[in-house]
Structure formats: C-alpha cells, structure tokens
C-alpha cells in the first residue's frame, strides 16, 4: 500500500470538490488528506490528494479522476522527485518549568512560536507530513491542547510544472 500524492488542476466550478470527494467515497478509495485552493489563474483550482493503495488501485484512481469532466490535468507526484509540505499549528499547554524545553524542541524542528500566553504557545511548523508527526511525537502528549493540519501539498522538482 504505497502512499501517493496526486496533484490535480480542476475547473474552479462549484461542485468540483464534491465530484472528487464523491468519486472516492463511491468507489471505496481512501483519502488521507485533500487540500484545495484557487491558483494564479482564477478559473482553475489546484487540489492535492494523498491516498494509499496498490498499484492497481492507484491506476484506477488516476483514470477515474481523469474521467471527471472538470479535471483538466493531474499528476501523481510519487512518480518522480518532488517536494512535499504541510502546515501545522499546535497549541501547547506551558508552565514556567516546561516553556524552555518546548522552545528548544520547536527550534530543533525549525518551527515558530506565533502566540504566547502565560499558559500556552501556538507553534507553527511546516514540513513533510512525517516531520510534523515527529514533532507531535516529541511533545508530551498531555500538553497538546489542539492540533490543526492543512493536509499535504506538493510540487515536482525541476523545471517541469503542472499547468495548462
């Protein structure tokens, strides 16, 4: 069950997102995460979809996605070298005693502290999804108040790009 990151250019129409989400639920494919936002061309949105499956299933997923009339283009980033990033914000309970420790973990992971109160931090962290997992694992679980993650987005390396 390989992890795949599928990048999709899709018409920026109402309902486009539900076509993609509906396809996955109707055909029983799994979605680990899905992000969507408009692109520099306002008529297009870009989606990044993280899924897992055997070769056969991933092949069906990309074919079925391509069949959606609103899908303009897609690539499976996992096919070639690529960069993956996810944004996470974590709200952590702090005390006089723990504050420094937490700060040094945040530094090690190259995160930033966005908000400070006498009893909490909000930490911002970007990186691959594994790095974000590693950070939350490094923090005492009981002190985590809230975690919010954007879901992964990605881009291929080199000069080629996904565009019209």
């Amino acid at each position: 069950m390989m992890r795949h990151i599928i990048s999709i250019l899709i018409e920026n129409e109402s309902g486009a997102l539900s076509r993609v989400a509906g396809l996955f639920s109707a055909r029983g494919y799994n979605i680990e995460s899905l992000t969507v936002a408009p692109t520099e061309d306002p008529s297009l949105s870009r989606m990044t979809l993280v899924t897992r499956g055997s070769e056969d299933i991933i092949a069906q997923i990309t074919k079925q996605l391509n069949k959606l009339i609103d899908v303009v283009k897609l690539i499976d980033l996992a096919d070639s070298p690529h960069i993956e990033r996810e944004l996470m914000m974590v709200k952590i309970k702090t005390t006089e005693q723990t504050r420094n420790d937490i700060r040094s973990v945040v530094d090690i992971f190259r995160g930033r502290i966005l908000d400070v109160t006498p009893s909490s931090y909000v930490v911002e962290m970007t990186g691959s999804s594994e790095k974000l997992d590693a950070f939350t694992a490094a923090i005492n679980h009981d002190t985590i108040i809230e975690v919010v993650r954007s879901g992964a987005t990605g881009i291929s390396r080199g000069e080629k790009g996904l565009h019209l």
Partner: protein, 579 residues
Amino acid sequence: MELSGAQILLQSLADEGVEYIFGYPGGAVLHIYDAIFQQEAVKHILVRHEQGATHAADGYARATGKPGVVLVTSGPGATNAVTGIATAYMDSIPMVVISGQVSSPVIGSDAFQEVDMVGITRPCVKHNFLVKDVTKLAETIKKAFYVATTGRPGPVVVDIPKDITAPNITVPYKYPKKIALRSYNPIINVPKEQIKAAVELLLNANKPMIYSGGGVVLGEASAELTEFTQQLGYPITNTLMGLGSYPATDKQFVGMLGMHGTYEANMAMHESDVIIAIGARFDDRVTGKLDEFCPYAKIIHIDIDPASISKTIKKIAIPIVGDVKPVLKQLLECLKDSKKKPNKKALDAWWQQINEWRSVNSLEYDRNSDLIKPQYVIEQLYQVTKGDAYVTSDVGQHQMWAAQYYHFDKPRRWINSGGLGTMGFGLPAAIGVKLAFPEADVACVTGEASIQMCIQELSTALQFKTPVKIINLNNRYMGMVRQWQEFSYECRYSHSYMDTIPDFVKLAEAYGHVGIRIDKPEQVRPALEQAFAMKDRTVFLDIMTDRTENVYPMIEAGKGHHDMKLRVALGTSTDRELA
C-alpha cells in the same frame, strides 16, 4: 434575436436536431412548457411517470444512436427520473436530461419541491450542470450534448432554476456550432506499434477468441467487426450488450458468453490462449470468478475508456485505448499488410473442439411439453418477425430467453438494461423505439412482474400511437428470483410470487388496447401473427408459460466459466413440482 431562457432552451434543442422530448410538466418547468406550446420543431411526448420518460428517451437513443432528451420538473419529477438516468449511465447511453429547479434566490432554503438534483445524480451521470446565468444557457446545452455523445457516451443532466427560464428576461441567442472543453478531449490516437503488437499476438494464437460488447454498438463498428472476424476466421462471442453487433446467424458466432451464455462460448473462453476484447468491460456477469477467468489467455483489450482497462481483469497483455471503429480499421489494415496468416492447422483443431462443445446443444429445451415453453415463444417471435424486429425487454428470465433465442443479426435491435438491470425498462423503451421507427416491428418481451413497474405507459402508447407488441411471458413468478431461490436457498420461495396478478387482458383493454390471453402452445404462433398483423394497435399478449422453467446454462455466483450448470435432462422441468 432576443429570447427568454425557455425559448433559448427550445431553440437550442431544435438547433441540435432534437426530434422528441420525453417529459412531464410541473411548477419549475412551466415557463418551458409554455415555450413548448408555442413551437413545433420539437415534439413533446407526455409520459405517465418520469421514469417512463427516461426509459423512452433511452430506448430511442439505443435504437437510433442519437441522444435521448428528457424534461422533468424539480423535486419529485427529478427524483423519479433518477432510475432511468442510472440505467442509461450503466450502459453508456447518450442522454440529455433537463430538470427544472426552484428559483435561484431560494435554492438551499428547502423551498417547495427542491432537491439537490446535481448532487443526487452526480454518481450516475457522465456530467451535470446547474445553469446560473441565462446568457450561458445555450452554451451549456451545447456542452451537454457534446459530452453526452462523444467518447464513452452517457447521460448528462442540466438543472435549470425557474427564474432562468422566465419570459420577462430576454437575452441575445446564438447556438454555438462547435464547442471545445479544455478539460475534456474524447479524441484518442492509437500508436501503430500497439496495433502491430496486437496483430502479431492474434496471428500467433492457437485457440483465439473474439469477445465483443456494447462498445461496438455504441461505436457503430459492426461492419468493421464483421470484416475483421471473417478475415481471421476466428470464433466470436458477444456480451448481452453486444448482441447484434455481429450477425448471430453466422457460423463463426458461438453465442453469448457469461452467466447465461452458451456452453461453447464459455468453454472456448476458458480454453482460449489469445482473447481480443472489443468494446466490452469484463463485467462480473461475464467473468464469473475472477481468479478462474480465462486462465490460459493473453488478452488484448480495446476500449475508449482507459478506466475500463484493467478494472476487473488486471492481466491485460496489450491495452488499446481508442474508438473501436478507427481501431478496427487500423487492425484490418495491419492484417492485410501482414505476411503472416492465421495458423490454419491450429485453427481447424480449435474449431473442431468448439463444434464438439456446440454439439452439447446447451440451449435445447423440451419441445414436446404441453405447457408453453418460454423459449418456444421467443423462437416463434423470431420467425414471425423474420428476425427483423426491434426487441426491447425487461429484466429477468424472459430477458435471458429473448437474448438466447432471438438471433439478432443487426446492431441496435436488441434493447435492454444490462448494467443496472432495471425492471420497468421494456415498455417505455419500446415506445421510444417505435417513435423513432414507426414502420418497424417493435416487441417488448416482458414478465408479469416487470411489466407492472411501468404499466402506466400503456396510456402514453395510446396517446402517441405507438403500436408495440407486448409479449408477456407470464410464469406467475419473479422467475429469475425464484430460480436463484431454487438453486441457492433450498426452494424457499420468499416473496418471489404474487397471487394477485391482474387480468392483463382487461388491463390492456382498459387502456384502449387489444389484450389476448394464450394458454396453449398451439395458440402461440397464430396469436403472434395476429398481433403483428394489427399494424396500428398496441397488443398485449399475455402468455401463460411453464412456471417451473429455468434459464440454462447458468454459471452460479463464484464459479468459473468451465463450471456451468446445464439442463440436467430434457423433460424434467415440465413435471417438476415446485416446493
């Protein structure tokens, strides 16, 4: 020229060359109906239930190859159409369904007769649109027809809020001649190398099989398929959806394959070493148990939809994504250029083997019974109509018998719901066919359960003078369900029986048609002749068939092609007591 949305819709349909709209009015489409009233180019067929509209449009589309057009109101009108939309979707039938929607400003407020039609139909349409701007209406209609009819065809829904069709808002009208969508390109070119590789593999085969399906009908490639098959001299089998795309009376045709396919077709598939699948999608009714499907074969698969390839059967040696017609032409070209010829010795041995399987005569039935055998009725229907009728069917045993015993020599003559298996399809579909071909014989082969699902369309048949012949194989059972219960549930016939079947003769008469009841085998032929002689009447033949008859051969669920249930011995079914 400035037109209202409703006028634009009608003018667009006229410019698209639409002959008929099958529809039913209601609040959200009243502006449209008013525009229908004031024009003559497009004829409206008023059905009695929106499901009937979709099946009638679907039947029209299957018989003509042109898209069927449906018009329904919002809410219940729209939901009633969903079964027919899904039916067309599963069999890749081009259809454009216009549904009314509540006015734009109240969408989302649970307004009277509001349903999210775009949302409801999303999983069973090729595409759908919600029109938000009257200036985009003509273009959207053009897109709908373009998407529905190109590539792998399918139904497209256009949901139009009532305010978009209002008479007081007019805008300039221009129907686009051509349209392109940057996100949709149905034209595919097939590389020469793949064609060469396919021909190479085919010519090296010892036990070749051609397995073709609905894609050949949809792609209008019967002539090419026939030439290709005869050029090679290879055996050919058709799916239920492919029947007629190769002449069934030709000696190279070994019958339908799959669950109720012939012994020779399924055995040949099982033993084959090279199979070329042409516009067929390896449906589970065809493959049976996937692990046991065609264990020795290398497979070439031609399909216009890449997603059909390696969807169920993964081991495809040569995938060819393309339109059957040009691909078959390319294959023929390449065959002609090839110095290699089919291996005559191997092919002779292969045909000898196939003829042995043929001699099992898997479609034989008891011809000496005093009960009416359903197979006999279809054979007589075939003779009386000289094999040239359009035959629609419903779903069940009667459907399989029609497929097995009516030998279709031409495409688009066999009209049935294969993928969704929708009971209720037959009668409205027959009406759609008859409208398209008023001079042709149109028969609807049905069962006493199926016919009741859209029986109200008898009224439509009267109003629009579509004299079809209804061949009701009345076995007083949901025969197909009963058969499964007999085989798999120790004859516990749970609710596969109705003891309150209506008097169909009276029912037909009540609707203004002719009804004839037939109890004896010797009445079958004369009754059929009489029915088809009444050119201008819809005739309902209520034929009391042997209620214990089963469809054979049968591959039971989870079994392989070589593991068929054949009729045990002739004569056993007649006297068999149903527990």
